[in-house]
């Protein structure tokens, strides 16, 4: 249970970090942010990076601020930063609610928002948030910087379009309008475990009908995503239990669930019916 040897790098600036990473990435160099997933993998020697570029001391990476119509979350912003609402309105409340489902308190003090997005566990709450809200990921390497929209960012289990020499320097979440309602529901067997199924939904109500619904799911397929067909079916409907159940059914029909030692595909599909329905109910109150 001891990590294999590696060379430790401690850059102080973004430029220094991408320069070092460009050099060591081909030699199995990796970025170390909060380390709450990487270090356990190293302890098991599932990961044996030869170089670690520790980005915890990079100036500016702890930045968490509203820039116009988006919340910018720097590469080293930790989960605990969201325990209290970071913005006024629904977005701050949404993040404060969801963060309580991420692992445990002493993990949240170290783990980072962007680290979760880069790690891309299918059951990551922040990945679900990014997919559902259509976050923008800002990646930077020695040659260029680019913005990646959420719908083309996640590739599969612990896999994203980030290249080995990229640092995810920031994630941007759109600020939600004051009348946006949200509901989140996660099922797992023990507090702090990874979700077996979870859903994040958002919608507004106009003249008694649902407008601009978003239904995101996580922990079920290889990556989190929005279910646009189910969203379309909910648009213009009354927010009531029958319509919520119909939407949940549509979601359950549309997915291709993972199968593993924790749950069968059929069980995950069944869980999904319940979590989507409950998330929609939560958003309605």
């Amino acid at each position: 249970m001891k990590p294999a040897p590696f060379v430790y790098h401690k850059p102080r600036t973004v430029d220094e970090a991408v320069t070092i990473l460009a050099e060591v990435a081909p030699l199995y160099g990796r970025v170390l942010a909060g380390g709450q997933s990487l270090v356990p993998s190293m302890a098991f020697r599932l990961a044996r990076p030869a170089h670690l570029v520790d980005i915890n001391n990079v100036t500016g990476f702890d930045r968490l601020a509203v820039d116009g119509d988006a919340l910018s979350i720097g590469a080293a912003v930790r989960h605990t930063s969201f325990h209290r609402p970071v913005t006024e309105g629904p977005l701050g409340k949404l993040l404060a609610f969801v963060v309580q489902h991420i692992a445990h308190y002493p993990i949240r003090t170290r783990g980072t928002f962007c680290g979760s997005l880069a790690h891309a566990d299918p059951a990551s709450e922040w990945c679900l948030v990014a997919a559902t809200l259509d976050a923008t990921m800002k990646a930077k390497n020695l040659r260029n910087a680019r913005d990646i929209p959420a719908d083309s960012y996640f590739e599969g289990i612990m896999s994203t379009v980030l290249k080995e020499d990229d640092i995810l320097v920031e994630a941007r979440l759109p600020i939600l309008t004051a009348d946006t309602r949200f509901g989140f529901y996660e099922f797992n067997r023990r507090a702090g475990d990874l979700a077996l199924a979870m859903a994040l939904v958002l919608y507004r109500i106009k003249d008694g009908a649902i407008v601009e619904p978003r239904i995101g799911i996580g922990g079920v397929e290889t990556r989190p995503r929005r279910l646009r067909e189910a969203e379309a079916a909910l648009t213009g409907r009354e927010p009531n239990s029958a319509n919520f159940r119909a939407a949940a059914e549509a979601v359950a029909e549309a997915v291709d669930p993972l199968e593993d030692t924790q749950a069968s595909a059929a069980y995950r599909r069944d869980l999904l019916r319940a979590v989507v329905s409950r998330a929609l109910e939560r958003a309605s109150v």
Binding site: K2, A4, Y8, G35, A43, F44, L52, T80, Y105, T109
Partner: protein, 160 residues
């Protein structure tokens, strides 16, 4: 490749000059180089919480942090809780409420609870259970740990 790095660690107010490989965790360095074996290592992959220490006021798993990352930070371990022969209110409460049996998980629970109380945890039952679910105890069934932390919280609040 495995060059040793010289660092200075500040643990419980004392500075330790350490030469260590980068791959060594804070937990191992606290135990083996600083000689502070009150911090226990259990699972060594972040699940059990036995190695919980306080770094810059926040509870962390010291098995998931490399010692080289802790340079310049203020580290507190279970050895720093008592003042001389006077136990910390949490330590006394754990004894009074039978919050431990074998004691292996106790340092981790004490540091977790210390940080949670110092950081203003509201002691309603849900919140307390949620925080204490961070760590594993195989002896007590948790009820007595919950009682102990609640009692210590009441006492500490009274002292303020």
């Amino acid at each position: 490749m495995t060059d040793k790095i010289e660092i200075a660690l500040t643990v419980n107010g004392r500075t330790y000059a350490v030469r260590t490989e980068a791959r060594r965790t804070l937990a191992d360095v606290i135990r083996e180089d600083c000689g502070l074996t009150g911090t226990h290592t259990g699972c060594e992959h972040g699940v059990c919480g036995a190695c919980t220490v306080i770094v810059d006021g926040e509870p962390v798993r010291s098995c998931l942090m490399f010692a080289v990352q802790a340079e310049g930070k203020i580290i507190r371990t279970v050895e720093g809780l008592a003042k001389g022969n006077e136990l910390h209110p949490l330590q006394r409460a754990f004894i009074e409420h039978h919050g431990l049996q074998c004691g292996f998980c106790t340092p981790g629970f004490l540091m977790l609870a210390t940080a949670a109380l110092e950081n203003g945890l509201e002691i309603d039952d849900d919140k307390l259970i949620d925080v204490l679910s961070s760590n594993l105890c195989r002896c007590t069934g948790y009820e007595n740990i919950i009682k102990a932390v609640r009692a210590a919280a009441d006492e500490m609040r009274g002292q303020r």
